[in-house]
């Protein structure tokens, strides 16, 4: 993802800590308030779009066509024959009461059930993948930057990029056949934990859970590692040629102190910037991984819901994604303040 540039200005006061603390809270509240119209528009747009697609949820039964009368009956039952604006306000009304809507083809389940079942899995997968991405990416990026334009640089970049060049679609089955079938070291599929989860989303930290998580997390994490490597490398390179580093070196400080104490923290700024969107992207973009490893996650449900015309599920999932993304961006901004004290919040 391209690198957003933050404007850096510095306001220093004696009580800077308290001022910044207060500013941050006000900033966050303001951002949350600004997010509300965004969310509203997003939900509205999705709602209209999903219903505008030709074909409805009750058209087909397996390979057959649903008889007209029954189709009309079912549509009436779920209020799909009402005018669009009426449906939308009903949906909003239900949303405010915490009801995300019904599921058409699974009568005993609601969208709330689906979200409660799939969101924890996606979050667990996403968080672990991001963690793996960072654990691989940052050291590789540092090594690459410190050995700029040598063969070490090329190889580390090559390794990082190759992992993102292999589509999950290929990597997944390769991993499954190698580690699952041939070597039998790892379980082939499924998530190592099922709902209900502790506190709603925490996984059981058992060996079984981690064994199941290895291949899916690896598939997703290596892709992120590439981006993180390159950002770290770029950031560190940028910083290493800055004046204050030259000053530190001139002062006679050891190279290691120079890097760790001065360069590293600032070079991680661009990486921190993508943390939020990265996490949100991990949760939303995990469709292929979930499909191949048979994980009951949100990505897969979303894509399936399009074909099945599950209007309420689609809209609600887009809403959840949007909230995730906004939270992620907000997290980034706050993190930014911690990493770079020169930021002003207007």
């Amino acid at each position: 993802m391209p690198l957003p540039q933050k404007v850096l200005f510095f306001i220093a006061t004696k009580n800077s800590v308290h001022v910044i603390g207060g500013l941050v809270t006000k900033y966050i509240i303001r951002r949350l308030l600004m997010a509300i119209p965004v969310i509203f528009l997003m939900v509205l747009a999705t709602f209209v779009l999903v219903q505008a697609m030709p074909g409805g949820p009750f058209d087909a039964v397996g390979q057959k066509s649903m008889p007209e009368h029954i189709r009309i009956l079912l549509e009436r039952r779920y209020g799909l024959d009402k005018p669009l604006y009426e449906q939308f306000f009903l949906y909003l009304g239900n949303l405010l009461q915490g009801d995300f809507g019904p599921l058409f083809r699974q009568p005993s389940q609601t969208v709330n059930d689906i979200i409660a079942q799939t969101f924890p899995v996606s979050i667990q997968l996403g968080l672990m993948s991001v963690a793996v991405g960072f654990t691989i990416g940052i050291p590789l990026g540092i090594i690459a930057a410190l050995n700029h334009n040598t063969w070490i640089d090329y190889i580390t970049t090559f390794l990082a990029v190759i992992s993102v060049s292999i589509p999950t679609l290929v990597l997944g089955p390769v991993l499954i056949y190698t580690f699952g079938v041939k070597l039998d070291w790892l379980p082939i599929a499924f998530w190592g934990a099922d709902p209900p989860f502790t506190l709603g989303f925490l996984p059981p930290l058992t060996k079984n859970f981690f064994l199941h998580a290895v291949m899916p997390v690896f598939s997703m994490g290596t892709g992120m590692a590439a981006g993180i490597t390159r950002l770290t490398r770029a950031g560190l390179l940028d910083v290493l040629s800055a004046d204050y580093i030259r000053t530190a070196r001139a002062k006679g400080l050891r190279e290691r102190t120079v890097i760790v104490a001065h360069a590293l923290k600032n070079s991680l700024i661009p990486v921190a910037t993508i943390l939020g969107p990265l996490l949100a992207g991990a949760v939303t973009g995990s469709f292929i991984t979930e499909q191949i490893f048979a994980l009951n996650g949100m990505g897969r449900r979303f894509v399936n819901s399009i074909g099945q015309r599950e209007y309420f599920l689609q809209t609600s999932l887009v809403l959840v994604y949007g909230l995730l993304l906004i939270s992620g961006n907000l997290l980034v901004d706050v993190l930014y303040a911690w990493l770079d004290p020169r930021i002003r919040y207007d």
Binding site: G21, T25, K64, L73, Q106, P107
Partner: protein
């Protein structure tokens, strides 16, 4: 500063949790523990010494599950429902077959209708009244998956509940309820008196009780069920194994409404009990020991576990690793598999026939010669052998073997005949495809459909001379295709791909339910003619011989050299299934697989893992 940061972090996480946790229902309560026997109640009316009639104890048992014979399988989707009247898709239907008792069953070896809930039946002379004798020794039970206890249900007076004719009556009438919105209601409704009246009633929520009472399904007493038909539909018997006619527990439905068939609350009467159902992940069923001996089925599988695996490659990997007993085989692996595991492959014809349909009102396919040409120009043999790698047999007419009334597979119908095709196209006025207008072929999504439509394009180019530019080819998701093919002539495609799988084993389900002009009014749009009269005649005839002859004539009238060709029947699907040799089973073609007849050699199964 740091404190604020953590506070904010916590706030974000908590708020996103609140949105998901909010509104999710509490987990289903456990099934109630077994009930203590009720006190005896002395009858109050008899003036003589009261005779105490001891109430029978409800049946119960605890299932011992140490080293159970276990079957592992997978399906690409989760089960939408376990409710017999609502079952629509193969996976649900399979589960319903194990959990519930149907009126009759389908014998896997002889393909005949055999007793199940009904021990015997009589048909009246006019063929419109069926009297079933129902056995009353099958208990309704609930199962507690924590304690492994299965307990019989009791009614309000404490009498243990067994399956009776009343339960079947309730089930059949429920099928006729328009508020269920069940697809299969429309399949069985034409065959039962009064059922169509309620099903298609104008105001579904206010169907008068009299109309429900008028439905032709009546439990004369606990053991006798009488079903009345509006016309002598001789194929009705072949419909009796179907799940919409199954008995259901009325009290459970009235108590729990839409959630009656869920993990923890479901009440069943079948050979298996629902042990666990984690939506989107998998489900487990266990053997019901309270089932009458003669119904147990002969199989030895105690526990049946099925997980949801959406990807065929992963499923196949599971099979290779011995983690599942059966699996589909991805197309690209088929050749290799047959070489590597010839002993562990079975072929299952699932009786689904696939065709390319024509819009009969839209030029140029309004001309029967053009339709005949395009149908006869498709090389079915090569397609099935090479492209489908043997996963199909060429079809010249509609109904495949195994369906009552269907002609032998190699008779009746033109099939692939390139000379005939070229001649027909010339007769239509387009010799060698000169002057042929632009037409469109629509396929539903999927790689094998893609191969199919591209193959068609290439065939028509080779055999008819119609360049691929003339035939636009595209794919849509299945429900989109269903919508698009209903549009008016201007917007609908000229041709599209579809398939048909049988609901019951009779030709009426094929040429009748699919091709009768009443049923093609939306898509193919046939004009009514003599053929339709023949279909109606065959539908009502009670003479099997006459019916077979009529159907042969009908198929010829559709697909013979002088045929109307509303669509081009291409192949009947044969599924290749990878099956480990320690499993012995006969797959069912109708009504759902019968797991209670399958056996696993447990030693051989365990030995695989040790390799």
């Amino acid at each position: 500063m740091k404190k604020t940061l953590w506070m904010v972090l916590g706030l974000l996480i908590v708020s996103s949790l609140i949105l998901t946790a909010c509104g999710s229902p509490a987990p289903a309560p456990e099934a109630p523990a077994e009930e203590a026997p009720v006190e005896e109640v002395a009858p109050t009316e008899a003036p003589a010494a009261p005779t105490e009639v001891p109430k029978p104890e409800p049946m119960s048992a605890t299932i011992a599950l140490d080293n159970p014979v276990t079957f592992h399988g997978y399906s690409t989707t989760d089960i939408p429902t376990l409710d017999p009247q609502l079952g629509e898709d193969v996976v649900s239907i399979n589960y319903i077959e194990q959990l519930f008792v149907h009126l009759t069953n389908y014998d896997l070896d002889t393909a005949e209708i055999v007793p199940e809930g009904a021990t015997s039946w009589e048909v009246s002379d006019d063929g419109m009244t069926y009297t079933f004798t129902i056995r009353t020794d099958i208990p309704w039970v609930t199962y507690n998956s924590d304690t492994h206890e299965v307990v019989q249900e009791v009614d309000a007076d404490g009498y243990p509940r067994f399956v009776t004719a009343h339960d079947f009556e309730y089930g059949i009438k429920r099928s006729c309820d328009p508020n269920l919105g069940a697809y299969y209601s429309s399949v069985i409704a034409p065959q039962i008196v009064g059922c169509e009246d309620t099903l298609y009633y104008d105001d579904p929520e206010n169907v008068p009780d009299e109309m429900y009472d008028a439905i032709g399904a009546e439990a004369v007493d606990d053991e006798t069920l009488v079903v009345t038909l509006p016309f002598p539909a001789s194929y009705f018997l072949s419909m009796t194994p179907m799940w919409p006619l199954a008995a259901v527990p009325s009290w459970a439905i009235e108590e729990n409404g839409g959630n009656w068939a869920e993990d923890g609350t479901i009440v069943t009467d079948g050979r298996y009990l629902l042990d666990q159902w984690i939506h989107g992940v998998g489900r487990t069923v266990v053997r019901n020991p309270l089932m009458p001996e003669d119904m147990q089925g002969g199989g030895n599988i105690d526990v049946f576990v099925t997980n949801v695996v959406p990807d065929a490659t992963t499923g196949y990997a599971l099979w290779l690793n011995g983690e599942v007993e059966t699996s589909g085989i991805p197309d690209a692996e088929l050749e290799n598999h047959l070489v590597e595991f010839p002993e562990e492959t079975i072929q299952i014809p699932d009786l689904a026939v696939f065709y390319i349909a024509f819009r009969e009102t839209k030029p140029p396919f309004d001309d029967v010669h053009v339709r005949r040409a395009f149908s006869a120009a498709f090389d079915r043999e090569t397609f099935n052998e090479t492209v489908r790698q043997g996963q199909g047999l060429p079809m010249k007419h509609f109904a495949p073997p195994g369906i009552f009334g269907a002609p032998p597979i190699n008779e009746v119908g033109v099939g692939y005949d390139p000379e005939y095709a070229a001649a027909e196209l010339a007769a239509a006025g387009y010799p060698n495809c000169e002057g042929f207008p632009q037409v469109s072929l629509l396929g539903y999504s999927g790689q094998s459909t893609l191969n199919w439509i591209e193959f068609a394009q290439a065939n028509w180019a080779e055999n008819l001379g119609c360049s691929p530019d003339l035939i636009t080819v595209e794919q849509q998701s299945f429900s989109e295709l269903l919508a698009t093919t209903k549009l008016d002539d201007e917007e609908a495609p000229n041709m599209w791909t579809l398939g048909w799988g049988p609901d019951y084993a009779d030709e009426n389900n094929w040429v009748g339910d699919v091709l009768h002009c009443d049923n093609t009014s939306e898509r193919i749009r046939r004009t009514c003619g003599d053929i339709d009269a023949m279909i109606e005649q065959a539908r009502s005839s009670t003479d099997p011989e006459e019916r077979i002859q009529l159907y042969s004539q009908i198929e010829d009238a559709f697909f013979g050299p002088e045929g109307e060709v509303p669509f081009a029947p291409l192949y009947v699907r044969i599924g290749f299934v990878a099956e480990h040799d320690w499993l012995t089973r006969t797959p069912a073609l109708f009504g759902g697989d019968q797991w209670y007849t399958w056996t696993i050699d447990q030693e051989a199964q365990a030995a695989f893992g040790a390799e």
